[in-house]
Amino acid sequence: MTQDVKFYQTGTFTVGNRLLDPELRTVQSSIARDNSLTSGHRACQGCGEALGARYAVDAAMRASKGQLIAANATGCLEVFSTPYPETSWKLPWLHSLFGNAAAVGSGIAAALKVKAQKAGLDQSAVRVIAQGGDGGTTDIGFGCLSGMFERNDDVLYICYDNGGYMNTGVQRSSATPPAARTATTMPLGPNPGEEFGRGKNVPLIAVAHEIPYVATATVADLHDLEAKVEKAMSMHGARYIQIFVPCPLGWGAASCDTIKLARLAHESGVFPVFEAEAGAITRVSKIRRRVPVEDYLRLQRRYAHLFGANPRPDIVARLQALADKNIKRFGLLEEVA
């Protein structure tokens, strides 16, 4: 390396691949990337999940030298990628059910282990990922996920978190944030949208399982996301990455704002980005330039009832307080000397 490069360009925040040595550039920037989720699929314009899946799976493919099998939960990712008789997946891929991707991953890993033993190897060269949306992960698939964690099965589980059941028409999940409008948490009554005080923090629950590796990431920081996938793939046992993936359809956001929203979620403290190993948080991605939560909210029609003709600054303040709590809890701001 010839110079100390920061991964941003002032003013635009665009990741500066051009300024890096070739070996430090992202997988996505390489023409040799696998395109594991190849073009032609049926995802919406600006789909954060499609982007996140492409980043993550290509990084996992590179880390495993192409020796990768994926189990996939039912949901947008499954539906838009495999409309019969087509498939966008260029790796071996199995969709079974909505709530069992983690267990299917466990089964694949068990089979690979036996095959490796039969071939006289300690462990299989072929690796396993299981993936699903937040509904398939934090709600209906949670039992299987926790089982896979506690057995420490050799599976990397990737959750694409867009905060709701988007495939079925934008309903509330246990990952839906407070005050957000969904089809089952309408902006009606004194407490419009999703109630405060509900929902589940699955990354921290994963940490509590003391599995080898847990991380959160967003589609806004490609370098960080790829590095985390690569790190996860360098380890064995149960691993979990939750990727924050904006959903233009479900959130009522512009397709061109997907990356921007992901970045604002991180920079406001709404979505803390961190890593944990064996039950302890080891690193957090600091907020470089803190923004008010309102900047993040105003770009999404799912929060429109907080502004407009009958604004609810009280609710905005509560959301800001939650973000502040995250910032404090995870130490997301640089220490002021």
Partner: protein, 420 residues
């Protein structure tokens, strides 16, 4: 080797002889002794290489099985009752994907009221799920059917349930012969999957299928089960040649050649029936038994051929469709369509109610005189039922049904009788 052992342990040994590569286990009575036995074999290094996973639910058990089978591993699990129901979504998925998983169902009733004893409600509830269902009459047959089941499943690329009566077989010690490893190896070649998750040849399994092809996919499953109607007897014949004893097949007749009355049944009750039928034969009745060993696919032609010469058919079932009647009876009647004979459904043994020779003799005595109603319940305690109905007519808050009935039964000394 011939030995005296528990049915569950024998099945565990038999499954181990089939060299499964992945076994998933979740405890539920009366299946637990089987997976405990297999767990010990894996842990002790006697069954290797094999991965034994203690999962967190039956749903996970079948899901793990789906993943491992799709990765080309010979996969086994066992369940019963509520456990079978808890994995139903994955059961349908396994057959829809065409994965040759073998599962033992230690037949047990379904609650509420919770009941751990034997009947066939669990596997019968899954008769339409696309799995093949084989029923064992004895522990020897359970041993033999598991070996045949792997062969059958893998040749068809379809999952197979081996149904054996919970407790009555699983917990019974009896004499049986376990085959040698060499014999099983000759009979059951290593698993060659039709589809496999392999980075060298990536495939997508489990894609969404719309109206343009869904019907064809489902029909193919039916076509495979139809093919199984030929394959099951072939495999049974090959088994008999290799192992020197008969087991499996579609049906087995007992003294039906000149029978005017034929009792149709499945599973371990056939043994008790044989004793009863022998006694009735001694008394001059022309009576026999048709044991259905393959319930799915249902052998319509074989059943028709066996029953068409009879004057009457009694279907003795350990399950029933509430609001309708017999489950197996409906299939038997389908097999007999166009043939006029007297048909009776007798529901028996629900929730572990003993099926005794005395009750069977009484019931069959009525049957041969055509005095049986079309649907009857063996040893039903009609008094207790009437008392509850009367209670419900009298008072709005009549309370929990099961508790009321138990109170009435414990206050009763009268022996139950056959009732319509």
């Amino acid at each position: 080797m011939i030995s005296q052992m528990e049915g569950s342990q024998a099945v565990a040994q038999s499954v181990a002889l089939c060299r499964p590569e992945v076994i998933c286990a979740y405890p539920i009575s009366p299946q637990t002794h089987i997976v405990e036995g297999l767990g010990a074999l894996v842990k002790g290094g006697k069954l290797a290489p094999c991965e034994f996973l203690n999962v967190e639910s039956e749903f996970a058990a079948m899901s793990v099985a789906i993943g491992s089978s799709a990765t080309g591993a010979r996969t086994y699990t066992a369940t019963a009752s509520q456990g079978l129901l808890f994995m139903v979504e994955a059961i349908y998925n396994a057959s829809g994907l065409g994965l040759p998983i073998v599962m033992t169902v230690a037949n047990r009733a379904i609650g509420a009221p919770i009941n751990i004893w034997n009947d066939h409600s669990d596997s019968m509830s899954q008769r339409d799920c696309g799995w093949l269902q084989l029923f064992a009459e004895s522990n020897q047959e359970a041993v033999d059917l598991h070996i045949q089941a792997f062969r059958l499943a893998e040749e068809l690329s379809m999952p197979v349930m081996v149904c054996m009566d919970g407790f009555i077989l699983t917990h019974a010690y009896e004499q049986l012969e376990l085959p040698s490893q060499a014999q099983v190896d000759r009979f059951l070649p290593p698993y060659e999957p039709r589809q496999v998750l392999d980075p060298a040849e990536p495939v997508s399994i489990g894609a969404m299928v719309g109206p343009e092809a869904f019907m064809e996919v489902r029909y193919l499953a039916h076509a495979k089960q139809t093919m199984a109607l030929e394959l099951i007897p072939e495999i049974a014949a090959e088994f008999a040649a290799e192992f020197g004893r008969a087991a499996g097949g579609l049906t087995r007749g007992y003294r039906i050649e000149d029978a005017e009355t034929i009792v149709v049944a499945l599973g371990s009750v056939v043994g008790t029936l044989e004793e009863t039928v022998d006694a009735l034969r001694d008394a001059g009745e022309k009576i026999g038994i048709l044991s259905i060993r393959s319930y799915r696919p249902f052998p319509l032609a074989a059943v028709r051929a066996a029953l068409k010469g009879a004057k009457r058919v009694v279907v003795l079932e350990k399950s029933f469709s509430v609001g309708m009647g017999g489950v197996v009876s409906a299939d038997v009647r389908m097999a007999l369509s166009g043939i006029q004979l007297n048909g009776y459904t007798v529901v028996a043994g629900l929730g572990g109610r003993p099926i005794t020779q005395a009750s069977l003799r009484r019931m069959l005595a009525d049957a041969v005189e055509d005095k049986l109603p079309p649907l009857s319940f063996l040893d039903l305690n009609r008094d207790v039922v009437d008392r509850q109905l009367e209670r419900e007519a009298r008072v709005r808050r009549s309370g929990p049904v099961a508790e009321n009935l138990l109170r009435d039964v414990s206050g009763q000394t009268k022996k139950p009788e056959v009732s319509a």
